[in-house]
Symmetry: C3
Amino acid sequence: MKNYTSINDIDNIGVWIKEAKMLKADPYIYKGLGTNKTIGLFFFNASLRTRLSTQKAAFNLGMNTMVMNVSGDAWGIEFGDGTIMNGTTAEHIKEAAAVVSQYCDIIAVRAFPTLSDKEKDESEYILKSFIQYATVPVVSMESATEHPLQGLADAITISEHSISKRPKVVLSWAPHVKSLPHAVANSFIQSMQKMDVEFIITHPKGYELNPKITKNTTVSYNQEEAFKDADFVYVKNWSSYSDYGKVLNTDSNWMVTKNKLGNAKFMHCLPVRRNLIVEDAVLDGENSLVIEQANNRTYAAQLVLKKLLENG
Amino acid sequence: MKNYTSINDIDNIGVWIKEAKMLKADPYIYKGLGTNKTIGLFFFNASLRTRLSTQKAAFNLGMNTMVMNVSGDAWGIEFGDGTIMNGTTAEHIKEAAAVVSQYCDIIAVRAFPTLSDKEKDESEYILKSFIQYATVPVVSMESATEHPLQGLADAITISEHSISKRPKVVLSWAPHVKSLPHAVANSFIQSMQKMDVEFIITHPKGYELNPKITKNTTVSYNQEEAFKDADFVYVKNWSSYSDYGKVLNTDSNWMVTKNKLGNAKFMHCLPVRRNLIVEDAVLDGENSLVIEQANNRTYAAQLVLKKLLENG
Amino acid sequence: MKNYTSINDIDNIGVWIKEAKMLKADPYIYKGLGTNKTIGLFFFNASLRTRLSTQKAAFNLGMNTMVMNVSGDAWGIEFGDGTIMNGTTAEHIKEAAAVVSQYCDIIAVRAFPTLSDKEKDESEYILKSFIQYATVPVVSMESATEHPLQGLADAITISEHSISKRPKVVLSWAPHVKSLPHAVANSFIQSMQKMDVEFIITHPKGYELNPKITKNTTVSYNQEEAFKDADFVYVKNWSSYSDYGKVLNTDSNWMVTKNKLGNAKFMHCLPVRRNLIVEDAVLDGENSLVIEQANNRTYAAQLVLKKLLENG
């Protein structure tokens, strides 16, 4: 593994989950691995969990950390090839990525989609440019279409809380007032497709995700039916994929309630809008795993950094 | 002590001052205490001294540090109970505090008052919510109504510079153009009430502080009289408490001058507006303790962090 | 050396370059030197390379780092003497620098010029005030008129890539759409004046730099002639010095091309605007040293910090 930008970079998710659990049990065992190693965290967008858990993972490995909000701390980065740079961008990614590679042993990048230009978003030009021009490993802290550290943390969490051999896992759309990315849903789907689970997606018509991601996963437009006998219900809003980036409806009937959930464990990547995505009673109840999911972000990141440091 | 959010959390100020002086004399003696421990510094408001001295204190104890400007680096946090979150806030403090507790061994928070809604400010809802939902100790880096790291640093400074057995200490209001919080004054008052000093507050009529804080401390409307034979004059502006948050006057007669001060030591928490709060001659003169007060912020913070780490 | 704010602070550039190369060969050899030492990086302006390479240099020496965007993280700093501070600035540099000196063993500052007030810029009031009121060493991370960490990194780079005994080095102006500082050009000139090189400056009429800096260095208005038989061509835009801060022209004939460059090595401090300052073919070609220059920023900074720590 040269970079970690997708759930597809995981060769054997069962082995990875096992390793992550070992790190969680004994977080400082590889502290020597990061001696004299530095990770640079570059944010094109806001972050709370990812910012802190990735730093914490680096600390656990004994690494130095440098954090930058790219636009706020520096200036606009140009990604276009052959551009005459007489506009607002001041530095080309060709230089930026190559230069930063000399100060960092690992580069971590967060860059959200536009949600207005599908082709541009799907090109993953920011992440791909970093990979192309960096000379050190690149880790995605959520790109336009994937959030693989979240997807890995989710897999760890499901593994920890499974009581049946082959649990039923549901990914459900829920309403939101803003246009949100598909990245978390995509990475969760890819993650579940690698695990031995019964997996089903449920959402209103029009919210079909990228078929290249969903593949042959069952999709139901009937949330109630989908939730039946579920062991885990993963809830997330996303904007329309076909009518790209649009909020087609904010139907509160799709909000997840304690009643709907039954005995299933509740999962969400956070941040979550209470009483819009899910009612208080779920988040404040015993079946919520959201805090544990966030906890596992540290060990997902730590496992990825460990693997990249060991390769280096 | 589970959290440090008030001078009232100090059980014996004499013992604390003694311990702080020991840390100041030998700052790295407890460096092993912070190994594999992380402090998260969360700023809802601007900070210079607090930001740097608290980090420095953590370094002295061997801790890792993570610093966030909450709104700039992440997003708006919701504090209301039961809110339907379809507005501008993206994450509830219930999740935020619980999640962050998993990445940090100590959470430090700065959150200023509105100075427009007295009840809201006095509820200390931001700090209280962190305490309620965090699972690790919380340190106030200045809340709506108190600034206990400053108050402790001030007590240390007075102890260091006392030549008489029971010094006379004056807290004086001084003019300012903006509406300022009561937190520094409140914590200084609480701090002096715990020490063996002759303590008097002086301010123009209308600037009476919260009587639950001032209690039976003598208040004089005559600055000149109050300053007589003072050993320490602590100067600070605050907005009206009764006519909440209002700037009633900016009477430059209340500005502190070298002449008024006489032989008394001058104290201020900084930042201080020169020639508005106090004239240059005082700050540039030998009787100013303001730089030493700021220095003691490190050891006040270090003592608090040390105590919390030892409890943990 | 008490502070490092100018190429003039280098006593023997040959010895410094040799030492920097030793650090580059073995970056962690002095890691004990920074134990319990903290550097504070204070940015009045945006930064990418300087921010990261100076932190990296500090890590290599085992130092703790604290980074602040002064205006964003804290508040406006007052530099005027005797000012009645009833305006927008909240803290005087007298206090700020003295206070920060207590939390930091070295203070590093970046503060760009106004490019509208020549006298103010040339007074270097921000940097000079830090030096005046700080009680620890001050390092310039680019001031109004000089960028000495860049100038040192450039000297190291030229030394590494010289094949002739006395290489010909050209500093060439190139067009830009915005008004840019003279600092990089000034420090490069001072650096070359200390080295055993054949040095010539070329720019359009009206772009003459400060004669106190250029001294008796040859200046040509003919870029083609200047480039003849050059070993190194250092390219940089700057605004007019005589017609202070003005962009007199953006003549694309002065853009540097592969054809113009011939066999000369290409240098630029970065960020560089592609196809405005220099065409893609140069930056993407084998003769570009820009990435290596940026790499040497780490060792230039590390050498400076090492010297200051050894003095302390």
